[in-house]
Symmetry: C2
Subunit: 132 residues, 2 copies
Amino acid sequence: MSRSRPHPLTSSPSARGGTAPRERDAVPVFVALGDATRLRLLRRLSTEGPLSITRLSHGAGVTRQAITRHLYALGSAGLVRHRKLGREQIWDLDAKRLEIARQYLDHVAAQWDAAAERLKAFVETQEETTEP
Amino acid sequence: MSRSRPHPLTSSPSARGGTAPRERDAVPVFVALGDATRLRLLRRLSTEGPLSITRLSHGAGVTRQAITRHLYALGSAGLVRHRKLGREQIWDLDAKRLEIARQYLDHVAAQWDAAAERLKAFVETQEETTEP
DNA sequence: ATGATATGCAACATGTAGGTTGCATAACAT
DNA sequence: ATGTTATGCAACCTACATGTTGCATATCAT
């Protein structure tokens, strides 16, 4: 959809100016995404907007404290952030870091695109040398 | 770069035909990607082509057994596969599953794009409205 | 002031990821 | 036949992620 359009929110420095995202930077993002509860939190935040811990805990299947930890996990990966609002703590997506994460994903996907095509070409020429 | 071009290998059904990838399916992929050693393995496979366990172990910084485990971890996420070739075990990327993984990433990225724009619009109009 | 609500903090249990070492086995080279 | 190379298998260790419970504290509503 909006895949190759330059984003207005962030000027996307690292991926464009020649500096490809390194594995080291991508790892914590993937780690953060590697949990069903956290993915659900991200989806809720991306569809319902900013929410408090308590609201995010409802229907989550785990305790509020567990949700709190997941939120901080997402936070240290730079995917979400929070602000205090009265006695509530409101969490929302961090657009800036989200853009960076998106570039990681794009980068990985592009790598795989290239690899897939190399693989295709490879298979076409190598098919018979391996096995009967 | 090759982001919006329809892929020849797989006709990208899920992003088009309505079946969006669920979190449950994406989680193991992200888990597999959430490790520096494994990302390096994927990168090597995507640039150097199919390699044996021993070759993948060289310069990896950990033991061969550790690499073996990482490879099987990537394998159970469907990102790589292996075949026996003499006394060697050759690992390579699994193009089919890779395409599915790529769609996950695209889906997530698209979600975030939309959320980012909603956020932008939200901030522009909501700056003063605190609570419902 | 008082009770209800939202969160913070800390201790604890448990599973498992990631790594190691040691030895066994299979396939190759000579 | 024999040594070398590539891998398999298993036991073991350690750190940490995930979840819990219990209690304390801050904020709100009345």
